[in-house]
């Protein structure tokens, strides 16, 4: 297993380089323009000058090469300098700059990391925490009332897009409930809020309720469906009958034997979902004004901000490759018969 992991890790480098190139070509070929969102009062000559100053007019290979250098060589050194106070000679080197803000992309990403992790990350944890028990119980008591209700709620939840459910909860909790009520929840997420004491923690908690609720609904629906299906497959297997016949306690049978063997698709879904925590949740962030990484990405796409889109997507790619590797390793642990060597 160790050599497998090592080999895969080494193999990820060319894979990621190739992915970064494909992403770059797509982002670059897509017809949006960094000056596209500027007012029409700005004349074309000025726009051309802006593009020139951004370096958006250089040849594709030059731009890609510059991005590689900035992402893999300059930015890591800048961050090393910052965290350890070393001098690695980055003074005067041009960092990886966003077209829209003209400021370093990595700083923008770092700035948005906390609110994204708070909202999307917590929603993911909440979603998993709710989904696994629901999936297990629904499968164990297939076609019971619990299962029927669970299925109904999760499928309706999944088929309602967040641009709708988000507005519904805002109308209920921010508009219809009066501002003085303890059930009132803020509809605008305050990213400048800092948790320093109990009061401010309570506020943070309140402002997170709605976005987390909306996001967790989707995640719960998805994971609980896969858990249920996979549990059902295993509950009828011979080994379950054998275990029961041996007199193993029902609890142990279900939670130890069946659940462990049912985890492979669940682990896959969870592992595929974790990168999307860092990718943010575009629509939910938009509805509640969380302004995390998802909002950064969509603004960058709409504004033709190539360096930001490229960097964000590439970080996303790294996470995908990494978590898929982790999933593969987990398969081996969950089912020792799976071997890759």
């Amino acid at each position: 297993m160790f050599t497998f992991t090592l080999r895969r890790l080494i193999l990820t480098i060319p894979t990621l380089l190739f992915i970064s190139f494909v992403i770059f070509m797509i982002v670059k070929l897509s017809p949006s323009d960094p000056t596209g969102n500027l007012p029409l009062t700005i004349p074309p000559e000025v726009r051309e000058q802006i593009r020139e100053a951004l370096g958006a007019n250089d040849t594709l290979l030059v731009q890609y090469g510059r991005w590689l250098e900035q992402f893999f060589w300059i930015e890591p050194r800048v961050y090393l300098e910052r965290s350890f106070g070393w001098d690695l000679g980055t003074e005067g080197e041009i960092r990886l700059l966003s077209y829209q803000t003209r400021s370093p992309v990595m700083d923008l990403i770092m700035q948005r990391m906390p609110q994204t992790l708070w909202v999307v990350g917590v929603a993911y944890l909440v979603g998993i925490a709710i989904a696994l028990p629901i999936g297990v119980i629904s499968a164990y008591r297939q076609y019971s009332v619990f299962d029927q209700v669970g299925t109904f709620v999760s499928m309706v939840g999944f088929s309602v897009p967040p641009f709708f459910s988000g507005v519904v909860v805002i109308v209920i909790f921010s508009v219809l409930i009066s501002t003085d009520s303890m059930f009132w929840l803020p509809s605008v997420y305050d990213t400048t809020h800092q948790v320093t004491d109990w009061e401010s923690f309570k506020y943070q908690f309140r402002q997170m309720i709605m976005p987390v609720m909306v996001l967790a609904l989707q995640i719960t629906a998805q994971i609980s469906r896969f858990t249920r299906a996979s549990m059902l497959d295993n509950l009828n297997q011979d080994y379950v009958r054998t275990a029961r016949a041996k007199g193993v306690r029902e609890r142990t049978v279900v939670l130890l034997h069946v659940l462990r063997n049912s985890m492979i698709p669940v682990v896959t879904v969870i592992a595929l979902g974790i990168p999307s925590i860092f990718g943010g949740a575009i629509i939910t962030e938009q509805v509640f004004k969380v302004n995390g990484l998802g909002q950064l990405l969509i603004i960058a796409i709409q504004g033709g901000d190539v360096p930001t889109v490229q960097t964000l997507t590439f970080i996303f790619a790294i996470l995908i490759v990494l978590f898929n590797l982790i999933a593969d390793v987990l398969y081996g642990i969950l089912d020792p018969r799976i071997r890759y060597d």
Binding site: I23, S159, V160, T268, T313, I338
Partner: protein, 302 residues
């Protein structure tokens, strides 16, 4: 058990009849199918009975609630919501089903190949990683820029954009299915019955179709159910971003999105498309459940 001897005397019937019998006796699946068929029929045949043009604007009748003339009310331009629901449903169902099938076929194929054949695993999974990493919106902008004119010229503006949408949604949503199927196949491959089958020299093709595929059916079914919902919703967010169907071309997703702003003024407008999407997804989900049960020989006949 007493029936067994009689059954033996009956003419041999294909196992698909057994599957159908089992499916029919599954209450959820049966009603799921009834609802689904009703929706499909309403959407396909409705326009022959209901003659209002979904794009016809009757500006004096705008923002109306349900009435005899307009059973589901009208929108902000006075277009008949009922007619728009039917014509939108055709597109949404078609997009949802086709994109789901495309994703399912691609995902299952790649998942099984990667899980079963060790040599293909590496390259196919790296390909999956690549697709997972692709940014959907810029990709769509590129696809539309490159292919819209070509396809429009050949299939007309609506047909062209339909093919674009379906293939774009399809080719960007198979990866999850592929990863899940592969994970399951990896585990299945080491199970005793597969080893047994291999030891008697079963060729690979039959191994896959006979032993592997039936056993990975449940995650595939779940993917399919979730896939329809995802495709319909993805289409709606694409319309919103201007990458989808032409603006005067209703779809359920678009109707839902457009009506969100009117949530407080006329809640009915939101409910129709929302309900249609949910009903379809639920119906397909129950059908999937029933099919899975029916195909599992251990449950069949229970």
């Amino acid at each position: 058990m007493t029936d067994t001897p009689i059954e033996i005397r009956k003419p041999a019937r294909s196992q698909w009849w057994d599957v159908w019998d089992q499916f029919r006796s599954h209450t959820g699946a049966f009603w799921g199918m009834v609802v689904f068929v009703i929706i499909v029929l309403a959407v396909l045949l409705g326009p022959f009975l209901w003659h209002i043009d979904p794009t016809y604007i009757d500006i004096r009748a705008r923002n109306q609630g349900p009435s005899l003339a307009h059973p589901m009310g009208t929108d902000q331009l006075g277009r008949d919501t009922f007619a728009r629901m039917m014509s939108g449903g055709r597109v949404s169902l078609a997009v949802g089903m086709t994109a789901m099938l495309l994703a399912l076929v691609l995902g299952t194929l790649i998942g099984v190949l990667a899980g079963y054949f060790k040599r293909l695993d590496g390259p196919l999974m790296r390909l999956t990683d690549l697709f997972l990493a692709l940014p959907l919106l810029p990709l769509l902008l590129v696809i539309i820029m490159l292919f819209r004119e070509v396809l429009s010229a050949r299939f007309g503006p609506e047909g062209g954009i339909f093919i674009l949408m379906v293939s774009a949604i399809g080719i960007t949503s198979w990866m999850q299915t592929a990863r899940i199927v592969r994970g399951d196949v990896l585990a299945l491959k080491e199970r005793e019955f597969v080893l047994a089958a291999r030891s008697i020299g079963t060729p690979n093709r039959r191994m896959v179709t006979r032993h592997v595929l039936p056993n990975v059916l449940s995650p595939i079914m779940v993917s399919a159910t979730l896939g329809i919902a995802t495709a319909i919703i993805t289409e709606s967010s694409l319309s919103f971003l201007g990458l989808g169907f032409p603006p005067d071309f209703p779809t359920w997703g678009r109707l839902l999105f457009d009506s969100v702003d009117y949530l407080q003024q006329s809640p009915a407008r939101v409910i129709w498309p929302g309900m249609a999407i949910s009903m379809t997804v639920l119906a397909v989900n129950y059908m999937g459940d029933g099919l899975r049960d029916a195909l599992d020989p251990r449950i069949r006949g229970r």
